[in-house]
Symmetry: D3
Subunit: 231 residues, 6 copies
């Protein structure tokens, strides 16, 4: 039996707490089972150098894990520098979020989303994307309320992992499954069922196109459920 008494096609229980960090422009603590990620948005009235005087805005993300979020403590990146894994993840989050909105419609400002993992039990990067998308929704609402920027059209986005464990396709792997999976995949999708990002990796041996399609089917279903958080 999988954790939380679920079958292969089920998500872990999902909870969202808004406003966890009152100092941020918007913040969401998303919990997917025992994976807890805090997503906080800061609105900055500048853009990176390559966008200056373009009239275009920017959305970017940073990712971190608290040292004791995992079972064996991870050394702090303030001491050892960011790992390759961290760079890879924050680039994925940023790319995915930039698909949510026409950057020409938000003015020359940057929305920076800090995604910090308080507890990690698999699927932190996909939880971060799902939570960050909601936090961006709240941040745009705040900008609208303040009269800074009329709310732009947003495409709801969510992300989920899937994988093949003991030969079975499963949705939303927790850490014990992820660490023994034969295939590990992450999917970012939009409300209309289209794909924003697919990453699928053979961990033990190559996988077939059929297997990949099973994972994609699971992910479509999972993302649709996660997008109910937007209602």
């Amino acid at each position: 039996m999988r954790s939380h008494q679920r079958n292969n096609e089920q998500l872990r229980p999902v909870q969202v707490e808004r406003g966890f960090q009152p100092g941020a422009d918007a913040s969401v603590l998303i919990k997917m089972g025992n994976t807890h990620v805090l997503c906080a948005v800061t609105v900055e009235e500048t853009v990176p150098p390559f966008l200056r005087d373009s009239g275009r805005g920017w959305i970017t993300a940073e990712y971190g894990m608290l040292p004791c979020s995992t079972n064996s403590r991870m050394a702090r990146e303030a001491a050892r520098g960011r790992s390759g894994r961290t760079y890879e993840i924050q680039r994925l989050i940023g790319r995915s979020l930039r698909m949510m909105v026409d950057l020409d419609s938000i003015g020359e400002r940057t929305l920076r989303v800090d995604c910090d993992v308080l507890n990690a039990d698999g699927g932190t990067r996909t939880a971060a994307i799902t939570g960050a998308a909601l936090a961006l929704y709240d941040a745009f609402a705040k900008l609208d309320n303040e009269g800074t920027l009329a709310r732009p059209e947003l495409m709801p986005v969510a992300a989920i992992s899937a994988g093949i464990v003991n030969g079975e396709a499963r949705l939303d792997l927790d850490y014990s499954e992820d660490s023994t999976a034969e295939v590990d995949a992450n999917f970012v999708m939009s409300a209309d069922g289209r794909i924003i990002e697919v990453q699928s990796t053979a961990e033990a041996r190559p996988f077939s196109r059929t297997q990949f399609n099973e994972l994609l089917d699971l992910a479509e279903k999972g993302v649709q459920e996660l997008l109910e958080l937007w209602l």
Copy 2:
């Protein structure tokens, strides 16, 4: 009126949540008003080089702030390296905690306490010490339960800030007070009323011995109240 409807001699409301990070050997989320610090202990079966083969253990601390814990976002230390302030604070926390126990009685192991500020509203370093001391208590209890180490004798320790604001001595400053204080002080004390560490700094002009004694009086009272968390 001060925040939380309190007078100059009162603490902010204090709350403690244990076991916030199940991956740690012990963890405490301490809330003093809107200052929230997560203190998590990791037990490592090694000691720093200068203690090898000494039969002596070590207690040390690391300190960090989440980027959006403050009103204006702080750049992540993973990107810019630790600040001088961070070094200063984590050295203070470590020194204070090492007074809690005879290091010869804990074997050649290190208890590392990660203090991460989730929300900052003044007094993060003293909240970290108070919370970390409780987390160490829990960690030693766990080592005892596991049969690893009989529980050593622990001296309860707590810490509090005090300062002079608008000419008045006040206990437990929140950020708006701290940032305008004429004198800012931090006190670490033990259950028997003795002092472990005093740091008192003139922010606007030098202060008299009388003023300093007023702050020390307030701190004694505050620490006694905080030590009720140990009961």
Copy 3:
């Protein structure tokens, strides 16, 4: 018309030069059109700490670009540190190459593949994987010739990019196509047509499952052609 007078389903001209760096244990300069990547293998008789005394070997990769490999000079990573993109790419290369061989069969040694881009015109990461796989083949042959290690069974592997440009699915994008693509994907596959890694990213807007399948079809065809380099 696309570069090198090719249609949407064609690769750029591919050339391989072996032994470019006589100081390496094996080296391959692979040219795919104007993308030139030097892949050099070093055999080290040690493994990373997590594999010590496991009887298991390791394959890893590092990636770099010469400053003038691109049209506008890139600052040297020796001066500014590795970028997130570099970390992402070298992790992809390493993961892909480790699928080629049973690591239990190669003894406690590390094969480190340096992939250095001499000229970049799109598709450097996939060219690096294709070239590095060949260089590993040569390195294992050398170990066999020296009597160090009987040649282990190797699964031939190659990689290729595909993308949607102006609404058309195209194979093996060069830089001018890559920089304007609506969808950008990289595929690593094995000789039997199975998948080792898929990464597909929406650059302009989400893509449909049908579009993704078109890219996968192209990639299958391209990888089969590249694997003829192994004959």
Copy 4:
């Protein structure tokens, strides 16, 4: 008997040599027994970003130790980065010196004081403050002589250590005392007997308020003697 044939209430012999570094705007080599610290001021016609266009100036300090200033060589911070101790000390020196003068009266300029320890025998941070205050006096005199800035009103400041060694309160610890002290304290005070900074740390066990007051009495006496250097 203590070093230099002194009793518990006596300072070590103090000597001051002005102009040691002719390239600086002012420089003082202060010797307290075998602790020798070179304090050199540079006047910069800029201020840190947070003070731009404020009309306000700034005073800051940097601290370093020559590798062979101690009995066992210290690795150079140019090779290993600044230590936490260095950050802590230079922040203390800067805070203390900023109390000497109304920063609104010195114009938008920075006085940077480099405090470099040539020989260390305990009390380097307090010697640095005492010497740096004198060097600032000389730097303001130079600015006045040059016609750049009329000499602002300066509050004389000095600093001294005290501690409890073998149960006895002692003034101005040298290294052999400092390394075995039960309590270690540093005091920065002004000419009128008020306090600028107090830092007092239990090294072996907590200390009582009575003990702390003994240290403060010694420090008051010591600072008065050091301020005779200003006459």
Copy 5:
């Protein structure tokens, strides 16, 4: 017998390939025996801060080695930072190249030469200077062709090593000679036989003025031959 069947006064075979990196403003791959160095020029329309508004240009160089350019792999400087040797060499290259042209005649622009060693068999720094001088010639020709800058007067420059091996003065040492040389020297000279830079180092024991003159005689001859590349 020396490598390439040459006597003590002979250079290794020299080859030059122009345009190796089409993305650069000019590029030269120089081969001296088995030492291969790629020299690529980038023209930047800025100058370092100390030359702003001076009307004067700048020429500078960076130097790197591919990890497998040597017989035992060198760790990548992107991971460990530049070595002292690298700094020393790139400063030498830059100084030498700045002698080629009156910097007042090239406008406020920087010509940056990247010298990357593809294969190293001794004499990489002198090959880099000889190749970089040719690449600068090509870069100035390009600027002239584009109408950006009329071609300035250039002084042809080349560099060569010499040394004493087994008591014999030899020209153009390869690695096996260099690593056992008693004296090692590098010379940069101009077409009229004058000296731009001399560096001569005793590796085993001091050398006499007579020995030094023998090396200088060899170098004069070698540089004259290398300057035929300019014809």
Copy 6:
């Protein structure tokens, strides 16, 4: 007239103070005019990895400048990392000192010489070599006195700069001369008149062999005078 009323062939006044840093194994403060360099030796009972179990010792050097040793303050290398110039100089000092003694005769230990410039007025690297050689003499004497190592045979070594200023060859340039010199050279020589290192650089235009020989003549004379410090 040159500084210190000297002609082109004269050294600046030279003074040596031994034992400046009692914490070092030996220390020499050398003053050549207004250039003051502190050279301190630490004996370490280890060698670098490449010499382990070789029976051979090592001599190495580090070089630094105090921030206010120059007329305009230099940023501290603890903050910005070592410069290329620093690496270049400390490599030169180390190489030169290793010529003083047969490293097989000193056992597996390292003599590390810290050369710190207290005041800089040209010629700091040559003053460092001359002072460090004397400090090594004292360190070997101490090892002999302690009974650790019988005093090995030492070759006295000294170093001096020379240059062409306003068309005239001059010995021992001070900063004002050095910064306007047409040719700048540094020579390290032994007591028997042989050469250990020559570095000569054209600053304004190439120089002739005749000019170089004039500089070498001056240097020979200067070194002989400096070696009188050894008597």
